[in-house]
């Protein structure tokens, strides 16, 4: 559907721009969906390919046009081309059979199977969808019409409150629900299956509501509680357990294509575009199920939670923000160079998931053309699309070919954020004050003692003028360029020279007060070197080897040390500490001895840039440098205490959610709140008329209040979650039924449209839906109603004869056995051996070998070979309405050989030994109770004892963990 239209591009080219569709088109309501599908798949392409060029809208050879059914019926010069039901009388068939003139197509006879298709099509009535011309093609607004059949479709009718039917066997029903089921069974002359035994029911309901098995203690308690209320109490206990939300959240996560990450490898995840906060949504869903958040509210939160006020009056409503991750955790190509396409794919993903999850409709089919089966026009689609083009999901459009940035919203309010900003500022101030104290202390130590060098000669290669003061400081002026200063001085004889010091000094005459001559007062000493000539007069000049350099302050990336290499780009500089004295100290290698009286020649290269010469400097030498901690003043202690406290307060990062807010995608074609044009054939490059943001017209009505402000998501949410919406409540009630029984009353839980199978028990669906709405959209009450029924209590084990009467169990005259889901298999093993970590929530673990519930093992979009995939977990690339159950050898291989399974077998064996230290038969009994909720019979006991005898308890544990009884539930 969605992608079907491009095929029709070909005829468009052939036929030229056509706009057709006479309003007089024959009503074609009587055709079944299957017939229409056959037309779409076989007949339309054939006619387009073979006939349309000469018998289309533009050209009608022989007066014949094949562009509508009507025009075929009308025919051309030779008369009607088509007689529905009568291929032999249809000229179309005569022509393609080459029996008589004209022989069509003239280029060559069609292959026999194609002719057979045409014949078959005419014979079955020549189905042709209403409002559709052969070429499909450009639809202009107004072409779309809703058919009578669509108007009458059961799912679009208001929800009824049917009377509970009368039944003959009045003893069987446990509640009203049962009378709907029994009524149908009795009409078919059937009776329900006998009740399951108590243990089977308890295992069934416990797995069903929590994804875990009952413990042996729970089994004992229930089996021995013969009171009327025993079952009711169990259901209450289960619904109130944390495990309920964890299990049912997983069902919902399947429907909403939930993933924890794209990349399963934590090391390869790209922080900016990873969906790292997805888990908050998962935890919110668990919590929503556990506190039985009314389902209508649950919907509103997910579509427009960011626009909900905080129920407790706080500045922001974190749950509302988190819930919209429903929209942002979608499936679109993250690195697509075509960023505008991403935006249209995001809107499509959102429309698709809302349609499937809540409405049971394939809304996304109308992206490129009017929906082929359901009453949804392309205009309806773009009315909805405008809502999502006006929503802010990505931080910005991003660069071509680059990956996008997920928009993240803080989960603390403006006041808390402002407070945090203020704390951050205070911390920065304190750090600066401490750093300045440290610097001054260091300056003091680095300049302590020693003795200044009074220069005997100063030379500037660039020709600057040097003036030596009384304090041995040298002030430079005059020509300013890349420069090298050469200074000579005699080493004083009172000192053993270990350090050579370069002081950079401020002066009022320098720009910004110096010490440099650059406009901002900075300088860069790109290379500092020195040599000496001993006083003996014999030895030549010897270079001085420096082994280290430090300074009171070093500009970022301009350390004093970098002035010891030849690279002119870096060196020592001091911005932003301008207008202050600084010092760099160069340590001389220990094997270099400079005799007193030696002549020192110091070279200060300043080749970084034209202006970055030193303005005022002084050289000195020292033998030792004091090192001590900065003085411990009360003021300093205060600063440190404040710093530590602030750091502590700020150490918890601001919690973020991948929330959706109003506004479009910055940097794209749709950056704000706006209506969008129809994208012809789904392409943003071909835009049609603009459609106002609105809801689908047939479903939501013609007289909608215009969306005046914001994206329109609240309006959409209100309509979806309305008790008057004929789809939403029915869809969730049916899903819940599906998850309880393995099949829904409607067997296509995400599609209630014209292609779906109508409900097996329409009255029951409506009756349950009406109760559900009356109960305030409470899922827990719905569960109670279902699991306490006699229908749910039926045995799955029936005679072959009873099975054969209704092999598909359409009348629900028995319970359908099922295999546990991937999560439940793993959780059962962990629970039974006492290893299950009960911790709830938080980011998902990376590997299935962790000990937490499977809900908390990551689902990664790019991973296909996980444990969960192997056991048929939902593929997070699309909304999943039902999981398939496959049985393949790689599953058995994992259970046979994976080290994790062996480890679990060991844990289980150890637990058994702990629980029952002495008696082997008792210990085997314990194993059976833990895994299967029952005791073994004698045959089983004998088999188990034989395994223990040959391979020990580990082997028995392993065998039982692999057994069918563990994973198939009656």
């Amino acid at each position: 559907m969605k992608d079907r239209l491009p095929q029709l591009l070909i005829p468009l080219a052939l036929l030229g721009g056509l706009s057709w569709l006479s309003s007089a088109m024959v009503e074609a309501d009587e055709f079944s969906a299957r017939q229409l599908e056959q037309f779409e798949k076989q007949i339309r392409p054939l006619l387009l390919e073979q006939c349309a060029k000469c018998h289309g809208r533009d050209k009608q050879e022989g007066g014949l046009s094949l562009s509508t059914r009507e025009s075929l019926l009308k025919g051309g010069d030779s008369g009607p081309a088509l007689v529905p039901g009568k291929p032999a009388e249809s000229l179309l068939i005569k022509a393609v059979d080459y029996l008589d003139e004209p022989k069509m197509p003239p280029t060559g006879k069609l292959p026999p199977e194609k002719i057979a298709l045409l014949r078959q099509w005419i014979e079955s009535g020549a189905a042709w969808p209403q409002n559709s011309s052969l070429g499909g093609g450009e639809q202009s607004p107004g072409d779309f019409r809703v058919t009578e059949k669509q108007k009458q479709w059961w799912a679009f009718q208001p929800i009824q409150d049917p009377a509970v039917p009368a039944v003959r066997n009045v003893d069987w029903p446990r509640n009203e629900l049962d009378r709907f089921i029994l009524g149908k069974l009795e009409s078919a002359g059937l009776s329900p299956a006998p009740a399951a035994d108590r243990i089977a029911w308890l295992r069934r309901v416990t797995y069903d509501l929590t994804g875990l098995p009952p413990t042996p203690e729970e089994v004992d308690a229930f089996v021995s509680d013969r009171t009327e209320r025993a079952a009711e109490a169990v259901v209450e206990r289960l619904l109130n357990s944390q495990a309920y939300g964890q299990h049912w959240a997983r069902h919902w996560l399947d429907v909403v294509r939930y993933a924890d990450y794209h990349d399963f490898n934590p090391k390869l995840r790209v922080a900016s575009c990873e969906i790292t906060e997805a888990w908050r949504y998962r935890d919110w869903v668990v919590d929503a199920f556990n506190r039985d958040l009314p389902f209508d509210q649950f919907i509103v939160h997910q579509i427009a939670g960011d626009r909900l006020p905080s129920p407790s009056g706080e500045e922001i409503y974190p749950d509302g923000l988190i819930a919209t991750t429903f929209l942002s955790n979608g499936v679109w190509d993250r690195g697509d160079a075509d960023k505008e396409k991403i935006v249209s794919d995001m809107a499509d993903d959102n429309i698709a998931v809302i349609g499937k999850a809540f409405l049971g409709l394939t809304l996304e089919c109308a992206r490129c053309h009017d929906h082929k089966f359901d009453p949804i026009a392309t205009e309806d689609y773009y009315g909805l699309a405008g809502i999502f083009y006006s929503s802010h999901i990505l931080k910005e459009l991003g660069t071509k070919g680059g990956e996008y940035n997920v928009n993240r919203v803080p989960l603390i309010g403006p006041t808390a954020l402002a407070k945090r900003a203020e704390q951050e500022k205070r911390l920065a101030d304190i750090n600066a004050a401490l750093a300045e104290q440290d610097r001054l202390h260091r300056l003091q130590e680095l300049t302590a003692g020693g003795s200044p060098l009074v220069p005997s000669a100063v030379k500037s290669e660039a020709g600057a003028v040097a003036m030596v003061g009384d304090d041995a400081a040298i002030l430079f002026s005059g020509n300013l360029a890349k420069d090298t200063y050469l200074l000579e001085a005699v080493v004083p004889d009172s000192i053993r020279v270990r350090y050579l010091r370069l002081e950079a000094l401020p002066d009022a005459v320098l720009p910004a007060g110096g010490p440099g001559r650059a406009d901002d007062g900075n300088f860069v000493v790109s290379r500092f070197s020195a040599s000496f000539v001993p006083p003996d007069g014999k030895t030549e000049s010897t270079p001085i080897k420096f082994v280290a350099a430090q300074a009171d302050f070093e500009q970022a990336n301009f350390a004093a040390k970098s002035s010891l290499d030849d690279d002119p780009k870096d060196g020592w500089a001091v911005s932003p500490q301008i207008g202050k004295p600084h010092v760099a100290v160069f340590e001389i290698a220990s094997d270099t001895a400079i005799p007193a009286g030696s002549r020192l020649i110091v070279s200060i290269e300043q080749r970084h840039a034209d202006k970055h010469a030193l303005g005022k400097l002084r050289l000195s030498v020292a033998e030792t440098l004091p090192t001590s901690a900065p003085p411990d003043t009360p003021q300093r202690r205060d600063l440190i205490a404040n710093r530590d406290r602030l750091q502590q307060e700020l150490s918890v990062p601001v919690p973020l959610a991948m929330a959706v807010t109003d506004g479009g995608t910055p940097g794209g074609l749709f950056p704000g709140i706006q209506d969008v044009p129809i994208h012809i054939r789904g392409s943003y490059a071909r835009l049609g008329p603009v459609v106002p943001r609105r809801l689908p017209q047939f479903l939501a009505g013609e007289n909608q209040t215009a969306i005046a402000r914001g994206s329109g998501r609240p309006e959409l949410a209100a309509w979806v979650a309305s008790p008057h919406n004929p789809l939403t409540a029915r869809v969730i009630v049916n899903r819940v039924w599906h998850w309880h029984f393995g099949e829904g009353l409607v067997r296509t839980p995400s599609n209630f449209g014209m292609l779906s199978e109508p409900p097996s028990h329409p009255e029951l669906l409506d009756w349950l839906t009406t109760r559900f709405i009356e109960d305030g959209w409470s899922l827990k009450k719905l569960h109670q109603r279902i699991v306490s029924s006699a229908t749910y209590r039926q045995s799955s084990r029936v005679s072959q004869q009873a099975f054969d009467v209704d092999p598909e169990n359409k009348l629900i005259g028995r319970f359908a056995p099922r295999r546990l889901e991937a999560e439940a298999i793993r959780d059962t093993i962990l629970l039974a051996n006492g290893q299950l970590d009960p911790a709830c929530g938080g980011p998902a673990g990376d590997d299935f070998t962790i000990r937490r519930r499977s809900l908390y093992v990551q689902t990664a979009r790019w991973q296909r070979d996980s444990y969960a995939n192997l056991f048929d977990a939902a593929n997070p690339d699309a909304s999943t309405e039902r999981r398939v159950t496959s049985t393949v050898a790689p599953q058995a291989l994992l259970l046979l050989n994976h080290p994790w399974v062996h480890e679990q077998a060991r844990h289980f064996a150890e637990r058994l030994e702990r629980d029952v230290p002495q008696n082997d038969a008792e210990r085997i009994g314990r194993a059976y109770q833990l895994l299967f909720g029952r005791r073994p019979n004698d045959v089983e006991l004998a088999i188990a004892q034989a395994v223990v005898a040959s391979g020990g308890w580990h082997d028995l544990a392993h065998v039982l963990l692999c057994s069918n009884e563990l994973i198939y539930i009656d």
């Binding site: 559907m1 992608d3 298709l117 390869l268 699309a878 049985t887 790689p890 089983e940 692999c962």
Partner: protein, 469 residues
């Protein structure tokens, strides 16, 4: 899986061997789609299913060069590029471009005609040149996406943006596989590539049909058990398990899944032996290793991959997809073309020639389809001074064996190697053709998901009849 999976396969093969015509005829009009719901399928997703019509190929080896090999340097010679080297492209470029299009860049390599067919092949591929009479070169491929992720997804699944089942998944879903002891769809991809697992995903098809990924040739398949596999102790446990499962099955006769699972453990037990044997390259002679170039460091890895592919198809694996991926996207020559393209060719050329030679000498080439290519080609214009950009507008792939006419070229790009101009073959057409060769009508191999029937070719695809033998 059913215990009788093997016998039903033999049964089918018998039927296939002698009565195929009848079968095909009866099937022709009646069959809507593969009988995915048949009870046999429910018990064993890999049970062999009859194709729609007589297949020419029974198995496929897809040699995938991730990154996009340069067609104008390998298989689509363009003398005009030498004439106009350094000049701008003399016509308006497509709107879709990633970086500013540079000037035309002549191929640094020489082409010569080879074989009886006289197909022109670059000097970089002497091995392929020696087998060129078995090869059908399609020079007019077109794809729709200019990025690796979208284009690779399209090449492997037919769809650029959304998750869809991969080619191998469709084929194993449609046909099953002939060796129940081995996976039906094996992917050998030593390093992660763009889009990774999506390229061999089953998507909405049951997960059983997803490609089995082999990263490390030394440990090809997970959970084969190593030393504990096949021991008496393991057999003893399996026997006990079977006894317990059979007791459990009593009174639950209608649940066929219980039987299927009992069988799956037996099958797993067999696989433990069969899979290591299939993956054990040391069983091959030194001469064979030399043929595949596993003795030379530059071609060792892909040589081993090719040799493994032969062993797998020989044993009935339906679809083998090899990625030349010592690291990610090694064929993505934005720069360093002159150095790196020869390196890639040295890595794959001898192994590929060996694979074709070996398949042929074993009589496997006639019903094994070998397919070579990447997600797109590269621009005839330069990126920088020693590279080429992504290019989906006209590029080259080749096919050999399995019902394809050898020694031919099909289609052409314009004189600059830019646009595909003659007998365009879209990726959808290639897919339709591949399915056709495997005996499947691409319009009838469907799966219903979310309210519609999906196909590998979406709503497109025309079988390229000209290349069929």
């Amino acid at each position: 899986m059913k215990t009788n999976a093997g016998s039903s396969r033999r049964q089918w093969l018998r039927q296939f061997g002698c009565g195929f015509g009848t079968l095909a005829l009866a099937d022709l009009l009646a069959r809507e789609s593969v009988a995915a719901n048949s009870s046999d399928r429910a018990a064993n997703p890999f049970a062999v299913l009859p194709p729609h019509f007589v297949p020419k190929a029974r198995r496929i080896i897809f040699l995938y060069m991730p990154g996009g090999p340069s067609h104008v340097d390998l298989l689509d010679p363009k003398p005009r590029l030498e004439v106009d080297n350094g000049k701008p492209l003399p016509f308006e470029k497509p709107k879709l471009e990633r970086t500013k299009t540079g000037n035309l860049l002549a191929s640094p390599w020489k082409f010569a005609r080879h074989g009886e067919s006289g197909t022109e092949v670059s000097e970089l591929l002497p091995g392929l040149a020696s087998r060129i009479d078995d090869v059908c070169v399609i020079r007019s491929m077109v794809a729709d996406n200019i990025n690796h992720s979208g284009a690779a997804l399209q090449m492997c699944t037919g769809e650029q943006a959304f998750s869809r089942p991969s080619m191998g998944s469709w084929l194993t879903y449609g046909l099953g596989t002939e060796n129940q002891n081995l996976p039906g769809f094996v992917v050998v991809c030593p390093a992660p590539v763009f889009q990774g697992a999506q390229l061999w995903a089953s998507s909405f098809l049951p997960s059983a049909y997803q490609g089995t990924l082999v990263r490390d040739l030394k440990e090809p398949i997970a959970n084969l058990g190593g030393a504990s596999a096949g021991t008496d102790r393991q057999r003893g446990k399996l026997d006990a398990l079977k006894k317990l499962n059979e007791l459990h099955r009593q009174n639950r006769a209608q649940n066929s899944q219980l039987d299927a699972r009992i069988s799956s453990f037996e099958l797993a037990f067999q696989m433990q032996r069969a899979a290591p044997e299939a993956f054990d390259l040391s069983a091959e002679t030194a001469a064979t290793h030399k043929l595949y170039g596993t003795d030379r460091p530059e071609s060792e890895l892909f040589g081993r991959q090719c040799l493994l592919a032969r062993r797998l198809v020989e044993r009935g694996v339906r679809f083998v997809q090899l990625f030349d991926a010592p690291t990610n996207n090694v064929w993505d020559h934005h720069g360093g073309l002159r150095e790196n393209l020869p390196k890639r060719c040295q890595a794959v050329d001898q192994p590929i020639a060996a694979l074709l030679t070996d398949l042929k000498s074993r009589g496997l080439l006639e019903d094994t389809l070998v397919l070579w290519g990447g997600e797109f080609g590269r621009t005839p214009t330069a990126e920088g001074n020693n590279g080429r950009e992504h290019h989906p507008f006209g590029f080259t792939m080749w096919l050999a064996g399995g019902g394809v006419r050898g020694g031919m070229t099909h289609g052409a790009t314009d004189e600059f190697g830019w646009h595909s101009v003659e007998n365009k073959v879209h990726v959808h057409d290639l897919h339709a053709t591949i399915l056709h060769l495997m005996g499947l009508d691409h319009e009838r191999l469907t799966f219903r998901f979310g309210g519609r029937d999906y196909r590998l070719t979406d709503v497109h695809g025309t079988v390229v009849k000209e290349i069929l033998a």
